[in-house]
Amino acid sequence: MHYGGSMIDCDIAIVGAGLAGMRAAVAIAEKNSKVSVAIIAKTYPIRCHSVCAEGGSAAVLRKEDSFDLHAWDTVKGSDFLADQDAVEFFVRECPKEILRLENWGCPWSRNPDGTIAQRAFGGHSVNRTVFAADRTGFHEVHTLYERLLKYDNVEFFSEYFLTNLAIEDNRIQGLSAIELKTGNLVFFKAKAVILATGGAGRLYGFTTYSHQVTGDGMAIAYRCGVPLKDMEFMQFHPTGLVPSGILMTEACRGEGGYLRNKFGERFMQKYAPEKMELAPRDVVARAMWKEIIEGRAFEGEHGPYLALDLTHLGEEKIEQRLPMIREAAIKFLDIDPVEEPLPVKPVQHYTMGGIHTNMFTETPVKGLFAAGECACVSIHGANRLGSNSTVECLVFGRVAGEMALKYIENVKDVKINQEFLKEEEERIFDKIGKGNENPHTIKRELNETMDKHLWIFRNGDGLKEAIRKIEELKERYSQASIADDCRKFNVALLSTLEVGYMLDLAEVVAMGALLRTESRGAHYRLDYPERNDKQWLVHTLAYYTREGPRFEYLPVTITKWKPVERKY
């Protein structure tokens, strides 16, 4: 059946309108006003998940700090899995990105003398985190979006849902997407494509992520033959509000907040006596989970929780530095952090792994680039430091834009194969969703499995059980239903497609975690509690096959810093 799919021509297609995607678009438009850029995203740009970033963006701005120190903090935070050449490049680019946003109107918080203010953050040796109150991502996104309105060669295609990439002879030719408003399948012919589609947090039930973050771009690239790197490394943020999982920024602790157990003890004393609450996230999250397991947490109607205590900071500081946290706590829990500690527990928060790229954002497919959370360069290794991700989107978004621009200089024309068009229409409209399994039930069971077996502490038996369950869910997914016959804004179709992507990703996460028989950064195996540099100082690469992922390993690039024991 032909559904009247239309064809849109552009030079560069960017998928995803968060920080990385929009920064890439600015980079292109600043260098070239003739090249046509399409920004394709499943939401309107300012509805992207980047707006949820709260605490800040790291950058070396002052004399008391140095590039080497930022790089060392990042490498140590990564438990030595980060590629050090990429980290060294990254830290040098961060300051310019902060200043560019400043020049474009970002309302950075300021020191009394008018200079850009910086605050403390976990794992950073000095106050390095630039911030805009506790709405950093929100302001960065709005600044970039508004900046983009200046350029005539950038066009937004909002509420278009990516379904596939057109690749011929290992070269990108374009992509297909569903225009939600009409339900039509639309083809974008593009000389280069930049994926900036975000993480995969909604694999989990208890998560800080927006509902939309289902890893679509990662899964589609994977199905098209691009390997996924280090997917077993999932970050758990120490302070998710109970029960919603809404993020209580690390800046709460950066500004001086305490974590307490039910005895009122600042338990971090036992786990990280030097850094205390400002140890990296993997260390703090593990400590909290241990407190919970060993019975030193509070018991509430939504299960155990610990206390994030800001009461000693005073109303003025909270209102100035953490206004959104206060607003959210009052609106969602009826608790004012000025008066009372907040109930929190570790929450799934970030995807360290992603689409395999080099430090120039190139994937193995020619003309296909990836940047931001969907990509894995890798600068975060096994554990990302807070405030390194928003600025990663800016730095590598720019690189992706410039690389794509350079790449298309030598591309004359691209052609989307007629077979691709036909097959994609059949796949979306005729093949998927003809059974009677509720995709939401499959998703719920997947969330439960991930929350149980791929959480902070993992072990071989649990991981095997998770893999078995994911296989079962995949089988049931082949019988999923799409109970909606109207094509306009068909959310049933969307949810079903998303669940399919999530199952593929979950399989890679679980199998990667089972194979990695060591503990490193956020990946902690109770049955292999030590880091094993002899065997596992390598990146995991997962390749798609019909029978499930095939794994290969890639050495980590080490420049200045040999792995040592990680203590805080």
Binding site: E30, T43, Y44, I46, R47, C48, H49, V51, C52, L61, K96, L99, R100, E102, N103, W104, G105, P107, S109, R110, P112, D113, G114, T115, I116, R135, H139, H142, R147, L149, K150, K181, S210, H211, P243, S244, I246, E301, H302, M324, E327, A328, K331, F332, L333, N438, P439, H440, T441, S481, I482, A483, D484, C486, K488, F489, N490, V491, A492, S495
Partner: protein, 225 residues
């Protein structure tokens, strides 16, 4: 809890009721997801962050615009009436057309106009006092609540409406900006600040308490200088 939802499908409009079991701490958005996941997977609504920062989920709740994610079910009695926002064309169910809303925003040149160097950016100073002059107006999440209750937007489609005017003022009041005159010219036209009837409804419904009506007053004062 009974959810009574105004639905739109294939040019037909009808009311439909759903029974939603309520747990403590549940929001209206959680209730909409409950319906989609358990009763009717076709129920169309927008949602993303579920923490009041992305602006996706504004709907009309018992006659007033609200962010679905911020509306606590415990604050309602037995029945909730949910409709799409007024002054927006419906695409399906609770999903409305936002292209026009974003076009209005674009019209006021909502970006910093200044002489800066892309390749070699330098830090511009701005004191906390200067920041405070416009910061509240940066908090607009573009949810459309204000426009949905704006009487001048209801009768004249080209009217810029509250959110766009907030943006215009936000940049005009920024100490780093040099584009004030350009923007004042735009907002002085017939569809701009003088189109506002001063009904103040926008300030009443803004979920971020930005007071768009105040921004419009301040802009009016600027145009008269």
């Amino acid at each position: 809890m009974k959810f009574v939802i105004r639905r739109f499908k294939d040019d037909k409009s009808f009311w439909q009721s759903f029974e939603v079991p309520v747990k403590k701490g549940m929001t209206l958005l959680d209730g909409l997801f409950y319906i989609r996941e358990n009763i009717d997977p076709s129920l169309a609504f927008r949602a993303s962050c579920r923490m009041g920062i992305c602006g996706s989920c504004a709907v009309k709740v018992n006659g007033r615009p609200r962010l679905a994610c911020e509306a606590q079910l415990s604050k309602f009695k037995k029945e909730i009436k949910i409709e799409p926002l007024d002054n927006f064309r419906v695409i399906r169910d609770l999903v409305t057309e936002f292209e026009g809303f974003f076009a209005k925003h674009k019209k006021v040149k909502p970006y910093l106009i200044a002489n800066t160097d892309y390749e070699n950016p330098i830090e511009q100073l701005q004191t906390p006092e200067e920041l405070k002059k416009y910061y509240i107006f940066t908090l607009c999440i573009k949810c459309g609540s204000c426009l949905s209750v704006c009487p001048s937007s209801a009768t004249l489609e080209s009217s810029l409406g509250p959110a766009a005017l907030v943006s215009a003022y936000r940049f005009n009041a920024d100490s780093r900006d040099r584009g004030k005159e350009e923007r004042l010219k735009i907002v002085s036209e017939s569809f701009g600040v003088w189109r506002c009837h001063s009904a103040m409804e926008c300030s009443e419904v803004c979920p971020k308490q930005i007071e768009p009506a105040k921004a419009i007053q301040l802009l009016r004062r600027e145009t008269l200088r």
